[in-house]
Symmetry: C2
Subunit: 152 residues, 2 copies
C-alpha cells in the first residue's frame, strides 16, 4: 500500500519502499509495543495515548500489509488479538536500530529510559549491525553499492 503522497524517486530502493509502508510515527510505536508483548487493542490504546480512530487505522494498515494478523483470542473469543507475523517480527532490527541510536544520541542525564538484556549471554544488549557472512560490525566505509536497475 503506497501512501497517497508517496513519490517515485529517481533512485528506487528498498529504503524508500519500506518508508512508504512504515513512514509514520504511530506505526513504529505500535510495533514497539508489539515487541514488548502487547496484543490487545485496549492495551495499545492506553500504552500509547493514541486516539481510537488513529489506532484503528494504523492496525488496519499493519494487517493489510501482512505485518500483523488479527485473530480471535484463544481464551476469550469476544476479544481480538493483534500479533506480529513473520514479516512483522522481521522488523525487530529496525526497532533496535532506532532505540540504539536514541539511547546514544538523545538520552538525557537520566540515561536511556529502557534497558535491554540479552538472555542468551546474560549481558546488557548493545545491538550492532553485522555482516551475516563474516560477522564483523558493518562500517559504511566498507560497503560498496551496485545499482541493478532504475525506474527512470
Amino acid at each position: 500500500m503506497k501512501k497517497p503522497n508517496s513519490i517515485d524517486t529517481p533512485r528506487t530502493c528498498s529504503v524508500a519502499r519500506t518508508i512508504d509502508i512504515l513512514g509514520d510515527r504511530w506505526i513504529f510505536l505500535i510495533l514497539r509495543e508489539a515487541f514488548f508483548g502487547v496484543r490487545y487493542y485496549d492495551q495499545f490504546l492506553s500504552n500509547l495515548g493514541i486516539a481510537t480512530n488513529m489506532l484503528s487505522n494504523r492496525l488496519k494498515r499493519l494487517v493489510e500489509n501482512g505485518i500483523m494478523e488479527k485473530n480471535k483470542d484463544s481464551t476469550d473469543s469476544r476479544r481480538m488479538t493483534y500479533r506480529l507475523t513473520e514479516k512483522g517480527r522481521d522488523l525487530y532490527p529496525v526497532t533496535l536500530a532506532f532505540m540504539q541510536w536514541g539511547d546514544r544520541w538523545l538520552a538525557d542525564e537520566k540515561g536511556p529510559p529502557l534497558l535491554l538484556f540479552h538472555k542468551q549471554c546474560g549481558h546488557r544488549l548493545t545491538p550492532v549491525m553485522c555482516c551475516k557472512h563474516c560477522g564483523k560490525v558493518v562500517d559504511a566505509k566498507e560497503v560498496t553499492y551496485e545499482e541493478r536497475w532504475k525506474t527512470f
Copy 2:
C-alpha cells in the same frame, strides 16, 4: 527539535524520541543519499526529485540536530557541502535495517534494486543485528526489558 504534532507517550523510549527527529520520509531518503556519497545540494535535488523548499527545510533540520554539517567546499568556496557528522554516520544501522527488510519483503520479481557488498570479506552484504557482547544474531524472544523510569 520536536515536531509540532509529537506527543509524550506514556511509555517514553528512545524509539519515540528518534522518530520525533527522523520521522519523515525525506529525512531518510536524504540520509540514504548521504551514505551513497552525495554531498551537494543540487545532487540531493536531482537524485531525490524533491522540491527545493522541502530539501532546504530537511537539510536545515538535519544540521540543527547535529546529524549533518554544512561547510564550504574545500575546492570551491562558493559551493556548500552537507556531510554526515558522527551522530549522522551512526544512523547507518537504521538505513541498513530499512533496506534489508525492504529487500526481503517488498522486492518484486526483479529482485532488490540495489546490491550491497562488504569490502572487508568480499561477499554480498546481508546485514544482521547482533549482540555486541556475544556476537549472536538477536532474536526478539531472547531479549528482556527493564523500564528504568517513566514520565507519567
